[in-house]
């Protein structure tokens, strides 16, 4: 083809392309669209199928709960209008608010709620405990149902409201699916509707305002009160690179950054266009988990040695850095700032003591064998805490075998009951959110039920018995008094070691108003100005 004809063709092509740009619709960010970078990718939309926090947060958008916690951590009615408890504390009768509808337009019925509770209780730790104390459910009419207990269980309302794993309500046609089948229909009755057709795992999840939602009249208070959606659309964006998310927030391409790295906080605070807010005043507890199946940690003295050799402030300094974002020292298993905070039994361990740790390890029969510590390579905060732990162990004379692995491999390896030198492990670091940790029953790492306990399998029937007694007590004041005994026992058998409590703030553009300090990121009450 002659050169001048090719040039003419190219010119024509360019002209068409630019003509296209004149007529093409511009991508305009609506003022009613809230764009948020979330801390993980939403891959699973069934809150009973996984314990992943991102799925629970998705649940808060699309589902509603029977009860919700207020800022004093008291369960308050949410979908429930009124409720009564029989004088013997064995029968709870709930009446739902009238006029509530599922996203498909059908009415919310008591039978739906019972089906949802049955599904939830098959997987949720608190739900399982509740069901073990139950005679059954009874649907009285379209809006009323009963929970009948056959033995005392004082945490019924707390279990239903649990901040990190509440009982989300869904239509019976969905809740009745077998528990081994993942729910793929996210129909709920919450303030937002999930747009499944726009969901792109690994990139984006979209929610639109549920116009049919009837919020409670009370003002929002933590997770309770009126859930008024003030934006038309919420877009969750998953950005694997935090630097990109920060730049996007600075440039105004996103409105809300759910979990900014803690070393970004100072920079963000200095930017007048941004606001940094701690929405969770309980924070996160970081913990060292010993494997109680194998020496030396099958001996409680070796686990006690961990209490002496670890330092919360050193760990938090490495993990967080900014002293305003962590507790220098928190003596309780049950989160400082919570109702269950207590220093009972903690005094001997307030000061790091390597000599005592060495002595206890020797008494436990430790003779310098290599101890396998799992160090994650792809979770910076866990990696930093593990580095401190390794240093502390070595200072206490422990022969440490560091195994650096990605988190996915650690989650499968830690589930193995093989001896440490044959593919098992001795120690790893993990963390858990405050609301769960604050309850000795909801905190799965505190459960010392041997084979039934979580990985690490601590075994202390006395501790389990004390927790059961605590859960059976319905009087909050009496329950509070029992916490000291539980903690004193925990410092003897040491299911895990608390190595610090820190706070993860969120960041958002200054034109966002109404961001709630609800413990978890929620998207109702927020408006763009």
């Amino acid at each position: 083809m002659p050169t001048h004809r090719m040039m003419r063709l190219a010119a024509a092509l360019l002209a068409v392309l630019f003509l296209g740009t004149l007529t093409a619709p511009a991508e305009a960010a609506s003022d009613k669209t809230l764009r948020a970078v979330v801390n993980a990718d939403l891959k699973i939309i069934d809150p009973t199928w996984t314990t992943a926090y991102i799925t629970i947060r998705h649940g808060y958008l699309v589902y509603d709960t029977l009860f919700a916690l207020n800022s004093k951590f008291e369960p308050k009615p949410q979908m429930v209008d009124t409720y009564t408890v029989s004088p013997d504390g064995r029968i709870y009768t709930f009446t739902l608010r009238a006029g509530q509808k599922w996203h498909d337009g059908t009415p919310v019925l008591a039978s739906d709620c019972v089906a949802s509770l049955q599904r939830w209780a098959k997987r949720n730790a608190m739900g399982q405990h509740m069901v073990e104390s139950m005679e059954g459910f009874e649907v009285v009419d379209d809006l009323t149902f009963k929970i009948k207990l056959n033995k005392p269980f004082g945490l019924v309302l707390d279990a239903l409201a649990g901040a990190e794993a509440p009982a989300f309500m869904m239509p019976a046609r969905i809740a009745n699916q077998p528990i081994d089948q993942q729910i793929t229909d996210a129909t709920g009755s919450g303030p937002f509707i999930f747009k499944k057709d726009e969901w792109q795992p690994g990139n984006k999840a979209v929610y639109v305002r549920n116009a049919a939602y009837i919020p409670r009249k009370e003002p929002p208070d933590y997770l309770s009160g009126g859930k008024v959606a003030k934006v038309d659309r919420v877009e969750w964006l998953y950005m694997p690179d935090n630097n990109t998310a920060l730049a996007a927030l600075q440039a105004g391409e996103i409105d809300y950054f759910e979990s900014p790295p803690l070393d970004f906080i100072a920079l963000m605070k200095s930017n007048p266009d941004l606001q940094v807010l701690t929405i969770d005043h309980l924070g996160v507890q970081m913990m060292v988990r010993p494997n109680a199946l194998f020496p030396p940690f099958d001996n409680y003295k070796a686990r006690e040695a961990l209490l002496y050799l670890t330092s919360q402030s050193d760990t938090m300094q490495a993990v967080v850095g900014d002293p305003s974002l962590f507790k220098e020292y928190c003596p309780t298993y049950f989160m400082c700032n919570s109702d269950n905070e207590t220093a009972a039994g903690a005094k001997p361990f307030a000061k790091q003591d390597y000599a005592k740790a060495k002595q206890l390890l020797q008494e436990a029969g430790y003779k310098g064998e290599p101890l396998v510590v799992l160090q994650p390579t792809d979770r910076p905060q866990y990696a930093a805490a593990t580095t401190v732990l390794i240093d502390e162990l070595r200072k206490a004379g422990v022969n440490v075998d560091v195994q650096s692995l990605d988190w996915s491999t650690i989650t499968s390896r830690r589930a193995k009951k093989d001896p440490p030198d044959k593919g098992g492990w001795n120690l790893f670091i993990t963390s858990q959110g405050g609301p769960d940790v604050a309850s000795p029953m909801a905190n799965i790492w505190f459960n010392a039920a041997c084979e039934k306990a979580n990985v690490g399998w601590p075994c202390d029937k006395e501790l389990v018995g004390l927790v059961d007694q605590w859960a059976a007590e319905s009087d909050p004041a009496k329950r509070h008094a029992m916490i000291d005994k539980i903690q004193e026992r925990a410092f003897v058998s040491v299911p895990y070691v608390n190595v610090g409590q820190y706070f993860q703030p969120i960041a958002f553009r200054a034109n966002l108003k109404g961001v709630l300090e609800a413990g978890v990121p929620v998207y109702w009450n927020i408006e763009k100005q």
Binding site: A26, I44, T51, A165, P201, S408
Partner: protein, 313 residues
């Protein structure tokens, strides 16, 4: 020619089949348990075991392989262990951003590298040549993510000319589409541009020393005609080979670029699937990617015949 194409297609099928078997074995023998990841950090061992059973991950490896191959024979790549969405749907949603990025990158790299390489060869030994070579070395030496962050800082945060991140489909208009591609394409394309500039320069220098070029000059042909019509066409085969092998370079670079610029493409899908041990997605993506890669090389093989009719078979 048809026989050549059929033979090449046959060998392509063999390569893809070998890749399929290797990928399946590699990901299943590597440590990690998708059931534990699905269950989450607060799940009990019993929860994890329930999930493992319900997903069929407790089956022997040979059974899982047989099921996968059986589905593959029916054109079914399976469903994600996590989202339960078909792998084909997940991949289809990621093709446009990656292909757009790859095309934009190639356009940027080729359209800058060829003139620079030709110019450097023409001006060999002079300051222009040296300046171009310094530029090529600098572009080749910087990691993609450093270039990416630098471009974002300059063009998105300071000058506010281009967006920081994201991808917008062509259906939303050409300007936003292009705006979202410029920075990623430049940061990904610089390395490739440097490689191609050096290759074009050295090949052109070699060709420009040939007797027929001297003859063309003696006949009084213009410099532009000599460079483009005679020299470049004869230097094309190694340059096209470099472009083909550059696609492999792109596949590696796309992963980083898509992460830095938050582009929802195949690279990010692959990395996410690998870190989560989402076996069907890993298998599907690698199978499709290897097929695409073999196909590109196949097309490049065929293109040699266009540039040099002496190449047969």
């Amino acid at each position: 020619m048809i026989r050549v194409i059929l033979r090449k297609l046959g060998s392509t099928a063999v390569v893809v089949a070998v890749v399929a078997v290797i990928v399946f074995l590699l990901i299943h023998i590597s440590p990690g348990d998708p059931a534990a990841i699905i269950a989450g950090d607060r799940a009990t061992s019993a929860d994890i075991e329930h999930i493992r059973q319900s997903l069929g991950l407790d089956q022997p490896l040979i059974v899982q392989f047989g099921l996968w191959v059986g589905r593959l024979m029916h054109g079914d790549l399976g469903v994600s262990l996590f989202s339960r969405m078909p792998v084909a749907t997940l991949v289809a949603g990621r093709v446009e951003p990656t292909v757009s990025l790859a095309i934009a990158t190639m356009l940027f790299a080729v359209s800058t590298a060829l003139p620079l390489g030709i110019l450097a060869a023409w001006q060999v030994g002079r300051w222009v040549d040296r300046a171009i070579m310094v530029l090529a070395i600098v572009a080749f030496s910087f990691p993609i993510f450093i270039i990416g962050y630098g471009l974002v800082w300059g063009f998105a945060l300071k000058l506010r000319l281009l967006p920081v991140q994201g991808y917008t489909t062509l259906a939303n208009g050409f300007v936003p589409y292009l705006q979202h591609l410029i920075l990623p394409a430049v940061s990904l394309g610089l390395v490739f541009m440097a490689l191609l500039t050096r290759m074009t320069r050295s090949t052109m220098i070699e060709v420009l020393g040939e007797d027929y070029i001297r003859t063309a000059r003696a006949k009084g042909l213009g410099q532009l005609a000599i460079l483009l019509r005679h020299a470049l066409k004869n230097a094309a085969v190694p340059i096209v080979t470099t472009i083909g092998s550059g696609i492999a370079l792109l596949i590696g670079g796309v992963v980083v670029t898509e992460s830095v610029f938050s582009i929802p493409g195949i690279g990010r899908l692959t990395i996410d699937a690998v870190t989560q041990r989402d076996y069907p997605v890993i298998q599907g993506v690698i199978l499709i990617s290897s097929f695409a890669y073999v196909l590109v090389n196949f097309v490049i093989d065929l293109s040699y015949r266009l540039f040099d009719p002496r190449i047969q078979g």
